[in-house]
Each structure stands twice: as C-alpha cells, then as structure tokens.
C-alpha cells in the first residue's frame, strides 16, 4: 500500500492579527519523504497541526487523493490514516515500553468478559515484533523513564506506526538529539517509508533535508516559497531562504562593561561528543552558543552544570581549577542550568509557585525547626511582582502555568539562589512574545548585577540581538568564537553552522 497524495489549496491561518500561514498551495506526493522546512516562526508547526486535525484553517481546503477532506479534530485525521508525532514527548514515564506502545489499544483476552483484561502475552509478543523494526534494541518491559530522549522519540514514532498510518507527520523529531541518535531516527523513518508510509517531516535544520528528504518545501514568514526535488537544490540556495532580516533593533540589548573572567574551559572533551572545547566567560557578558542537532551544545551545558561528565579538559572558575562531581557542586559554585525541557527537568509541577522558587535555597527559610512559610510567601510575592509571573496566587500549582510563566519561575528560582553564572538552554522556545521581552530584560538585569550568562539558542536572531559574543559548535567542535559586531548577521552564522 502506498500512502495518498495530499494537497493544500489556498490555506490561510490567522492567530489574532498575525497571519501565520498565507495562501499555502502545497502538494505532497504519495509514498515519499517530504521535508517541510523554514526558520523558527515560519509557520511549520501550524501547518503540521492543520494536517493532523489539531488546528483548522481559516480559509482553504485540504485534499486527499483528490477528495476534499475536513478535519475537525485529530480523530478525523486519524480516521483518514494521518497520524502525527508531536515535538514534545507525550509518553507516560511510569509505564513500560510495551504498555506505552499500545496505550488505549491493548490486546484483550477475548471478546467477552476477557475484553476487560489485557492479554499480556500478546502485548509483549506484538511489542517485540514492533521493536524489531528499530535499529537499536529496546527491552519491551523497561520503564519509559529509563529511556533516553532518542529512544523515546523512536518509541513515539513506533507507537504512531502501530496505528497503521498512511501518512506520518513528524514535527521536528530530531530536536535535541545528537548526530548518532538522529541517525537512528533516520533509519527508522526510511524503514517505515519502505513499508509504504508517506512521511511528512518538519525541520528547521537545513542539513537534515539533504540526509533524508526526496522533496523539500520551504516556508518563510507563513508563505510557501517553493517545493523542490532535494537532488536539484543547492545547499547555499536553501540557506538563503533561511536567512532573512536580522531585526537586531527589536532586542533590548544593553552593552555592559565586561568584567573579570569568571569561567574558563580548556580543551574540554566528552566521549564521542565533544572535542577540544576552549572558551571563556566574563562577568557582565551574554555569551551566545548555537549549533545544529548533534553539535553537542546541550552536552556542554550539562557538563558545565555538573549533570554530565567530561572525559578530558579542565574547567576554571575565578581562575581556579574545579571539578563538579554532581549538580550540587555546580550550584554551590554559583552555576545554574535552566534546561530546555522545562516540563520534565525544570519545574516541579505538583509543587506550588512559592515552593518552586524557594526550593533552590531552603536554608533561607530554615529557623532551626521549621521552614518559615510566612517568609516563603513574602519571597514568592516579591518575585512574582518583580518578574510579572502571574496574577494568580502563589499557592497555584506550577503545572498550570504557561510556558513563558514557567520559564520566568525558573529564573526566579535561581535569582533567589543568587547564582552567578546562568546557563540557559533555549530560554524563549515556545514562549509568548511578551514573556520573551521580559526574559530578555531579566538577562539585562543579570549582567548589570555582574552575573554571566551562557545563552544557548537555535534562534539566530535572538543570539544576534542579545549576545556580546557568539560561539558555534559543529559536530562536537568549537568552530567559531565571534564578537557580535553590527556587521555579523544570520547568513554569516549559518555559513559557520553547516561548513
């Protein structure tokens, strides 16, 4: 069976005043791997959501094999054989691999009373059959919490495949994976294509287009620039579609007097990922760091914050050599790491706002016997006002906040701890504009107070707008350490990113 032909005709989508997609005419050939690419904010995710039935277009139609279809909800899309794998992981950590694979579709003992009971033998049998498609071995009985991000991604794709999709939509599946991990993903995707599934692959990484794709469509500012066979398009031409205006002026950049060196890394390496990384970070400085999938940038952040181990090289703090055995050592040294994965590794969803802030330093609340809850309330109130966290009370559970609020809450936590070095991994990803501006201004406030910031981001405009210097990682090596002069632009960064 070969997947259907999909067509968008004059599809337009607005959010408020903002035109997210404008008159998209796009067709996706049956049985192919079709890449849809464009920079962040080009409208990729919205297009994916329209295909998956999560969003409805304001105007325009979707055709499958020449027949007009209308998806009111994801179930409608699924009824037509379109399944989507989201950017964020939605597996249940506490359940095991097989249970996650068949969640809500578990095989039953029989059609009668047994339908209320799960046929475990069949469950694991089926699971092992599915797992054999994977290029790596995963035990069906392993709890998902024990899996790495790459394995989770593979599992999610497999779970979608179990639903017998005709079209599989993947929204940036390789985000935060390193190169070898992404290779596993590509293998699985090619395997599924062999089995007759059409793949629509959304990515913001131009190099992926060439590894995986047959066709590529480029979106820019909500407009479909064009669709090309991958073999006919040149790398540089694709890059020119990515680089647009830089908009440096929209970022509230303050040039603060650069202070003393606070952190220096020499010849840092970690097995298979990082190799010979050297750089320094000064007080009052925002140091940008970027790199594509598999560049090792998250790995570097984790080593600097005591979460990962380096296999070679040295780290100097205030000129003294230092080793972090664990994150606690790093926190004590004044380093905080605010992860990209706010949901899983950042906030404590079941704790309330004030507990989420004060947890970084309970000693300030400790009176010898109890925690001073009254003071905790005052402190939370202060940061809520200061950072504009939310209008609700500080007893609200952190789980219910928006992305932007969660990010500000994490900043508040480490401001409260008086950290000196802030390592921020994609701090504005998925964050609304207004919170974004607040976050940029909090960065200003930090450097004014003499802190140092390592800003890790794939948003090149943001890096150009806010950083004093920009580091570029490529396949585990530091390929550039650039002073952010007015002449530096996205094109120059992209050239270094992919050389």
């Amino acid at each position: 069976m070969v997947g259907p032909k999909l067509q968008f005709v004059n599809v337009t989508k607005k959010f408020g005043e903002l035109n997210v997609l404008q008159n998209i005419n796009l067709s996706i050939a049956a049985g192919s791997i079709h890449m849809i690419t464009g920079e962040n904010g080009a409208g990729k995710s919205t297009l994916a959501k329209i295909m998956g039935g999560i969003c409805q277009p304001d105007q325009g139609d979707l055709f499958m094999d020449g027949e007009k279809v209308r998806f009111r909800e994801p179930a409608d899309a699924q009824a037509h054989g379109i399944h989507m794998v989201h950017q964020d992981c939605i597996l249940i950590e506490q359940m095991n691999v097989a249970e996650n694979l068949f969640l809500n579709h578990e095989p039953r003992l029989n059609a009668w009373w047994g339908r209320y009971r799960i046929n475990h033998k069949q469950l694991y049998g089926e699971a092992n059959r599915l797992l054999s498609l994977l290029p790596v071995k995963i035990d069906a009985r392993l709890p998902v919490s024990k899996l790495g991000l790459a394995q989770k991604r593979l599992l999610e794709i497999l779970r979608a495949y179990y639903q017998n999709p005709r079209v599989l939509i993947l929204d940036e599946p390789s985000a935060s994976l390193n190169r070898p991990e992404a290779e596993l993903l590509y293998k699985l995707i090619r395997e599924l294509q062999q089995r007759g599934v059409s793949i629509v692959y959304f990515t913001n990484r131009p190099e992926e287009v060439f590894t995986l794709g047959e066709q590529v469509s480029v979106l820019k500012d909500g407009i479909h620039i064009g669709t090309f066979p991958v073999k006919d398009i040149e790398y540089n031409r694709l890059l020119t579609y990515f680089a647009g205006a830089d908009y440096k002026e929209r970022y509230p950049k303050l040039r603060v007097q650069r202070g003393a060196e606070i952190l220096r890394v020499e010849e840092l390496g970690s097995e298979n990922i990082l190799d010979g990384i050297s750089f320094s970070l000064h007080r009052g400085e925002i140091l940008g760091l970027t790199g594509s999938a598999g560049s090792g940038r998250t790995n570097l952040a984790r080593i600097l914050s005591g979460l990962g181990k380096a296999s070679s090289g040295t780290i100097f703090l205030d000129g003294n050599e230092i080793t972090f055995r664990n994150p606690r050592d790093a926190i004590r040294a004044g380093i905080c790491f605010i992860t990209e994965d706010r949901e899983q590794e950042g906030i404590f969803p079941l704790l309330n706002l004030k507990e989420n802030i004060t947890i970084s330093d309970l000693s300030r609340l400790w009176n010898g016997f109890f925690l001073n809850r009254h003071r905790e309330e005052r402190i939370a109130e202060f940061y809520k006002l200061e950072l504009g966290i939310t209008k609700t009370g500080s007893d609200a559970k952190a789980a219910n906040l928006s992305s932007g609020m969660k990010q500000k809450l994490l900043l508040a936590r480490w401001l409260y701890k008086s950290s000196r070095i802030f390592i921020l991994d994609e701090p504005t990803k998925g964050v609304d504009i207004s919170s974004k501006i607040d976050i940029y201004n909090i960065l200003n406030e930090l450097v004014l107070a003499g802190a140092a910031v390592l800003l890790i981001s794939s948003d090149l405009k943001e890096l150009l707008g806010m950083s004093d210097r920009i580091l570029i990682l490529n396949k585990g090596r530091l390929v550039a350490d650039l002073v952010n002069t007015p002449e530096l632009n996205q094109q120059k960064l992209l050239d270094r990113l992919v050389q």
Partner: protein
C-alpha cells in the same frame, strides 16, 4: 564600626531608599560586599527586608500598594513614581557611552537620568530642562549646554522658537524624551504644543531618540499627537505595561527595555 551599629545604619538606609544594591551599601559603609551580604541575611531573617539579586528591598514595599492616579508635574523629590523612574534612569545610563553628547528633554524622568549619569566620563549634556540644569551644577565633570527660550513654569523647561532654533544648531548622539500619553490606536501624545515642537526639533539632529516613560503613561491619550508607536526606535519603561504593547513593539522592531519592579 560594630555589627549592631552597621545593621542599624543599613536599616535606616533601606528605609529611606526602599531598595538598594550591595555594591552601593558596601561603598556607603566602607565594608566589604561579603559583610554586607551577611548583614542582609540577618535582616532578612528579622523579616525587615527581602534579599534580591545583588541587593535588598524593604519588605513593606512588597506589602504596600503603590499610589494610583494621574501624575501631575511635581518636583523630582516627591514624585509618586520615583522608584520606577530611578530604575528607568539606570537603564538609560547604560545606553550612554563615555564621551557622548546627549540631550535630556523636559520631565522628571529625564531629571533622574541626569542624576544617574554621574559616573560617565567626558559627557556633554544638552538640555532645556531646568531641573537638570540646577542638578548638574553640582556635577562639574559634565559639560552642560542649556538651550535658551521662553520659560514654561508648569513644565519647568525652556521652549519656543528660540529653543528650537538653538537645537537646530546642535548635534547629539543620543536623546531622551518623555510623552504624556501612549495608546495603541492614537500613538504618542503630549499635553503641551511647546514640548511637541522641541521633540520634533531634536528628532532632526540626533542619531538616536529614546523614549523614557514610566508605566503610568500607557493606555492614556493626551492633547496632541506626535506620531504612531514606531516614532521612537527604543523605549525604556517598566515591565508592568500591558502585554499588547510588548507584542506591538517586538513585531515592529522597536527595542523595548523594561525594568524589574514592584507591582500592585
């Protein structure tokens, strides 16, 4: 100085200033920053202050509601938005480099900016603001050029054709001005035609004109319009302004600098 004496002094300073940073306290009391931090921990334990990033804020301030209502033109020292304006001034000072020529427009926000420029080197300040002129008298390191003109006593500044003519002959690197009303539909508005003419004159001869206003001016409309919200390319204000403005500025490529501050 004994510890108890020092603590009492810190208490008095914070009571007066409402919020303060460690570096300033350390300078004022001539002890190390480490000592100050230790003292602040004590005061926080007493419930007197809340430690902030690099400083402290009076606990009462978190409890109090700030005063509401319109801001009449008042003398700089009993301004209800003093704290907000001081913070705006701190950011403004960081946009100014040594050796620059700057213009400060009418209003108390610009007065606060002048007060925060004391540690810059070799500045030349052009101004029509009488508060600023009298303040800078105490700071002999800054070159001051006052424009002439009619005195507008309500605004305590110099205006009119003479002032405009004077500004025509001067070139400035960066200028700071304020407006009376900011509204998404009606743009920037002023209560005073004279001040409007001054801002228009400065636009012609300045590399960069920065709007410095406290949050109370947002969602207000004054008498006469000077332009839409893209008229100034940089805006400094407080973070509590309505979200729509933050979105608008970002989408229209206007740099928006905000301060962290206490909100009701």
């Amino acid at each position: 100085m004994y510890a108890a004496e020092r603590l009492a002094k810190i208490r008095r300073i914070i009571r007066e200033k409402k919020r303060i940073d460690v570096a300033t306290l350390s300078k004022l009391l001539a002890v190390s920053e480490v000592t100050i931090r230790r003292d602040l921990v004590k005061l926080e334990n007493e419930g007197y202050i809340i430690k902030t990033y690099g400083g402290a804020v009076l606990q009462e301030l978190v409890d109090e509601n700030p005063k509401n209502g319109p801001a009449p033109e008042v003398s700089p020292n009993d301004d209800p938005y003093l704290a907000e304006k001081e913070q705006i001034a701190k950011i403004a000072a960081n946009l100014v480099q040594d050796d620059q020529i700057i213009f400060l427009g009418p209003g108390t926000t610009c007065y606060q900016i002048a007060a925060s420029l004391t540690n810059k080197r070799n500045l030349t300040i052009v101004t029509n603001n009488l508060y600023v002129i009298s303040l800078l008298q105490k700071l002999p390191t800054i070159n001051v050029i006052a424009v002439g003109g009619e005195v507008n006593y309500a605004r305590n500044c110099l205006v009119g054709p003479i002032a405009q003519n004077c500004l025509k002959h001067l070139h400035t690197n960066i200028s700071f001005v304020s407006v009376d009303g900011i509204n998404l539909d009606r743009g920037y508005t002023l209560n005073d035609f004279d001040v409007l003419d001054i801002i228009k004159a400065i636009q012609l001869n300045s590399d960069e004109v920065v709007l410095a206003v406290d949050y109370s001016k947002f969602d207000k409309i004054a008498l006469t319009s000077i332009g839409d919200l893209t008229y100034f390319k940089k805006v400094i204000t407080n973070s509590r302004i309505p979200e729509e403005y933050k979105n608008y500025y970002f989408q229209n490529c206007i740099g928006l600098y905000t301060t962290m501050e206490i909100e009701a």
